[in-house]
């Protein structure tokens, strides 16, 4: 699908249903290929990682954001700009730890699971949207922020909300010595 030089968002809409169906087909095929839920989750995370390392430059090129000065700024940017740009939703951000390096993104609307009501009984510990965790982890790593990203709560598993937890692994002071 070619892009004209002055790329505008409205010229290149693909059907959202197609995207959701594609993701669903991906997860279904992985479930057929792997017996254990952990394997499927790891596979989704790895796929998400390889998407994230490329998506970050697209995000930076098209949003023209400046360098974040703190972890909370980074978490806000992920929630308010990145999620909005790519999934059309804006999760709310909250800080989970006193140290200021653990954050939660609470999604009340998740387009990927629009047509899924609950997980089948034999796939009880499957993280359906684990791809998103990999994407966030990969993207952060490319801007030199090591992080652990996991699903803390999942509506599909019966929890009240869907919550993604981001834990930044390095102290902010270390960043000063890194190459700019």
């Amino acid at each position: 699908m070619s892009h004209s030089p002055g790329r505008k968002q409205e010229n290149h809409k693909i059907s959202r249903e197609l995207f959701v169906l594609t993701y669903g087909a991906l997860v279904a095929q992985l479930c057929k290929d792997y017996e254990k839920d952990e394997d499927v989750n790891t596979c989704l995370d790895r796929m998400g990682y390889s998407i994230g390392i490329r998506l970050i430059d697209d995000f930076l090129a098209h949003s023209a954001v400046k360098k974040c000065r703190s972890y909370s700024e980074t978490a806000d940017m992920i929630a308010q700009i990145a999620f909005k740009m790519y999934l059309g939703v804006t999760p709310s951000v909250s800080c989970r730890s006193a140290a200021g390096n653990e954050f939660s993104l609470i999604l009340d609307k998740n387009p990927l699971v629009e047509f899924v009501e609950e997980l089948p009984a034999e796939r009880a510990s499957l993280c359906y949207c684990n791809l998103l965790c990999g994407v966030i982890r990969g993207a952060l790593e490319m801007v030199h922020l090591a992080a652990e990203v996991t699903f803390l709560q999942d509506r599909l598993k019966g929890d009240a909300v869907t919550e993604i937890g981001i834990t930044f692994l390095r102290k902010p002071e270390d960043r000063k010595h890194k190459r700019n």
């Binding site: 030089p5 790329r7 430059d57 697209d58 930076l60 090129a61 190459r179």
Partner: protein
């Protein structure tokens, strides 16, 4: 107004893309009779003018072609040593083309790594934390503009000093990179970029920027 070349350097300092868009050629071709009044000497892999500057042929210019055939380093196209060839009166009159030699790809790789190191030094020397690094290097014949992304990739553009709109061009090149290089599933990160679409769109962007002229877009 011209944009001379574009360089893309990866995080490790390796050159992953290079395009020479416009090279102001200042070649001079002249016919000589024996004896040659220029003094030539070998230098690295070339034969250069050491003395006897005249008529557009300057000291440091290399021998580019003899009798129309491009030379191969220090040897003529037929494999004869250039200095021996020019020392033999039987080969005269001879037509020799002199000019500034073009950089070989190895030289470009080395220069890109050197700039990468200078850039790092520049950032460290900054009195304030969070410096953007070297943004522009200005000389009388060209300006080198550099933009480092938050992911560590550097885009460098060498352009005519009067050319404007290079900042916008650098951002545009970043967009083209994120589209045609990164979204290509067969392109591995940090490796040399060999994507046709990237080349095409980059050349288009350079032409748009050049047409805009010295007063920016819309002039």
């Amino acid at each position: 107004m011209a944009i001379f070349s574009v360089y893309v350097v990866n995080k490790a300092g390796g050159l992953i893309y290079q395009l020479d868009h416009y090279a102001p050629r200042s070649d001079t071709e002249k016919t000589f009779s024996f004896p040659l009044d220029l003094v030539l000497r070998p230098h690295d892999e070339r034969v250069v003018v050491a003395f006897g500057q005249r008529d557009g042929i300057r000291v440091g210019h290399a021998v580019l072609a003899i009798n129309g055939a491009e030379v191969n380093g220090r040897f003529t196209a037929d494999g004869k040593d250039i200095l021996e060839f020019l020392g033999n009166p039987a080969n005269y009159p001879v037509s020799i083309r002199f000019g500034r030699h073009r950089l070989s790809s190895n030289e470009k790789l080395m220069l890109a790594s050197m700039f990468h190191s200078l850039f790092a030094i520049g950032s460290q020397l900054s009195p304030e934390v969070g410096s953007s690094g070297i943004e522009m290097l200005e000389t009388d014949t060209f300006k080198l503009h550099c933009f480092q992304t938050l992911t560590g990739i550097k885009f460098m553009v060498l352009a005519d000093p009067r050319q404007t709109g290079i900042d916008a061009l650098l951002r545009k090149i970043y967009e083209i990179y994120s589209d045609y290089a990164l979204k290509n599933p067969f392109y591995s990160l940090e490796m040399p970029i060999r994507c046709e679409l990237f080349d095409q769109n980059l050349k288009l962007a350079l032409e748009v920027a050049e047409k805009a002229g010295p007063f920016g877009p819309g002039s």
